[in-house]
Structures are given as structure tokens and as C-alpha cells.
Symmetry: C2
Subunit: 214 residues, 2 copies
């Protein structure tokens, strides 16, 4: 069996990346071969280095020559795609990646870009999903891992997990409770994809099919 | 303690009504004092009669004189409100009631009309919520009981309950699984309201507060 070559894109502290490095990297036929960030100062890059995984920043903000793509998202996304194609990446995981990817990027990885989002989509897409949910007054919170399409958090759902909270104290409180669920759900999905257990229903392309273990 | 006088509005077979009659009517300080339907042929009316509860149809479709309000929703809703006010109803429960209530009706019962909806609102409001959720491809389904405002399924959430379904077979399958959750959640909320445990956060009126038992 050839290993599934995974790349992780992260903007922030990289806790979801860390969960992938700790729980799936180097086993179950999964190899994390690259970590990219849109921020030169992302802690995710250090986490990658520590795990011996190649990492690079594709930062739109002006900086050292050769690293930045000032203001040109499309050029940046195109360069990222080239970087990943060169490393024969088979699955791109957005783990707290705060940029919308150019369609040109997605075209390189059909049905092979996934994202983790801290709500039960289609409820509360976009920024500050947890804040939106607390403001709405929901009692059930959750996490979605989905395929990325050209919309914002609108692609086909792979897995979702929920928790009931009779009285959420604050967004931070909910965030603390959802974070371990994000880690668990994301690593579960990477394992399912590596095991070839995730496919699409041809008669109903929004519908992701999870097949039983072989 | 004075009993909470409850009315139930139903359009269909009335299984949620039956759950209320079976599980809360006549105990915990709760008295169902009336059942109304927008359909003369609703099975809910028979269920009410069987339980010795007064019932009436306010049917917009032309029928026997004196019973119908042909085409005039506002007149119908006004007559229903008068019927309920006369019976000193303190809580109106929409249990599979398929009509949008006129604001004039709601004005009679401020913060005292609740509805049960088979989705985790704000996802999938309106008709065929379960069909919408299956078509979207969600993995987490659920039920919401909420206060009714002038929008469609948009009022403040009281309780929600969820179930995870790795592979929902059909809308009917999901519906069969959600029905007992609807019954449970709706009776739970009626009991909480009767116990005086449901209130609003004055600084944040969308937020329903459930207080601990006295």
C-alpha cells in the first residue's frame, strides 16, 4: 500500500496540525509531507519543523524577497498548489486555515481538500462560528469536517459530531469543549480517507459515503 | 400552585399532542384545556375528545357555516386567540401545526407560544426540514423546541437534542428516529415552563435561561 501523502494548511497556532502529527502521521498509511501557512509567524511552522516535516510560508504581506506575494492571492495560491503538486500530495487538510482558496488551487486537488469547521454546517458558516452560535442561543454545538468547494464552508459533509450544552457560559467555554472534538473528527476523517473508505454517491454528489472497514 | 393551562395546536396526526396528553396532562401542575386544528379532519381532534379535552377546528376551507373562515387567515387566527383567551390559556404549544400564525395572535400570548421543529435550528427552517437535511448530507440531525416569533422557525431556542447518523437511509428513517425525540423534548419543555424554570436573559433577549430545579 502506498502511503497517503498529506499536506496541512494552517494560519494560527496549529493545534489541529499537532493532532494530525501526533495521531496519524507515520502510521495507518499516512505521511504528512508538508505544512504551509499564509503567515510567516504561524506556530504551525515550528510544529512542522519539530516533527521533521517540510514547511513553508506563503505570506501575502510584504517581507523577505522570494517569500511574499504582496497582495496577489491568485499568484500565492498558484505557487502553493505547485509546491504541493511537486511533493505529490494526495490530500490537503485545512486546519485553521483562515483564507479562502482560489478555485485554481482547488482544481489541482479534486475531492482532495478537506476543512474542519466549529459548527454543525450549514449553520454558522464563516468567521467566528462559535460566537455566532452562542449569539443565536443554540443548545447543541458541534464540529463539521467537509470537502472544500468554491463557497465558504459549503462543501459536502464528511463527518459531524455534536455536544449538547444546557447553558454555554461563553464562546471561550464552548471553544474549549469543541477543540478536542475538532482534533478527533479531523484525524478520524484523515484515517477514513487513507483507508479508502470515503467516496461519493454518483447519483447524489453532495452525499459522501463512508463504507465499512474492509 | 395554579395549574398551567395549556392549549395544543395541531394540523396532522397529533402524535406530539398524544405525548403531551400521555406524559404531562393532569400532572406536574399542567392541564391541557384545549386542542385546536386548522383541519376539520385532523386526527388530533379525536385524540383530544378521547382524553376528555375540549377541541375545535378553525378551518379556512369552506365547510359548515360558522366553522370556516374561508380564505381569511387573520379572522381565523383572531377567532382562535379569542377561543384560547376565553379559556385562560397560559401556554400555546404548536405540535405539528402547519400554519404561520398572524402577529395579532402572538400579541395575545407574549413569550407563551412554543413550537417543535425537526432540525437543529437555525439549520433547515420551514417545510420538510428532514428532507432538506438529508439532501444537504448532514451527519447530525436533531430537534428544536423554541419560542415562536413572527418569522418562520426563527424564535429563541429553548432546548435542542441531536443524534448522529453515519448513514441516514432516507427521510422516513430519520423521521422515525426523531419522532420520539420530539415527544421527549416537547414534554420536557412544557414541564420546565410549568415549573417556572424558563426565563429570558434581560441583557440578551434571544437567550433563554433554564434555571436549576428549586
Amino acid at each position: 500500500m502506498t502511503a497517503l501523502r498529506v499536506a496541512v494548511l494552517a494560519s494560527g497556532s496549529g493545534t489541529n496540525l499537532q493532532a494530525i502529527l501526533d495521531n496519524v502521521h507515520g502510521r495507518d498509511g499516512i505521511e504528512v509531507v508538508g505544512v504551509l501557512s499564509d503567515r510567516r509567524d504561524s506556530h504551525a511552522l515550528e510544529r512542522a519543523a519539530k516533527a521533521g516535516v517540510e514547511a513553508a510560508a506563503f505570506d501575502l504581506r510584504p517581507g523577505q524577497p522570494g517569500e511574499a506575494f504582496p497582495g496577489d492571492r491568485r499568484a500565492r495560491d498558484s505557487a502553493m498548489a505547485a509546491w504541493l503538486v511537486e511533493r505529490e500530495v494526495g490530500l490537503v487538510v485545512l486546519a485553521g486555515y483562515m483564507q479562502v482558496l482560489d478555485p485554481l488551487f482547488l482544481d489541482h486537488f479534486p475531492h482532495a481538500v478537506i476543512n474542519v469547521h466549529p459548527s454543525l454546517l450549514p449553520a454558522f458558516p464563516g468567521l467566528d462560528a462559535i460566537g455566532q452560535a452562542v449569539a443565536y442561543g443554540v443548545r447543541v454545538f458541534g464540529v463539521t469536517v467537509h470537502f472544500v468547494d468554491e463557497g465558504v464552508d459549503s462543501g459536502p459533509v464528511i463527518l459531524q459530531r455534536s455536544i449538547e450544552l444546557a447553558s454555554p457560559r461563553s464562546s471561550e467555554h464552548v471553544h474549549d469543549l469543541l477543540r478536542p472534538i475538532e482534533h478527533e473528527l479531523l484525524t478520524d476523517v484523515v484515517k477514513l480517507i487513507a483507508a479508502g473508505r470515503v467516496s461519493f454517491d454518483p447519483s447524489f454528489p453532495r452525499r459522501v459515503v463512508i463504507t465499512a472497514p474492509a
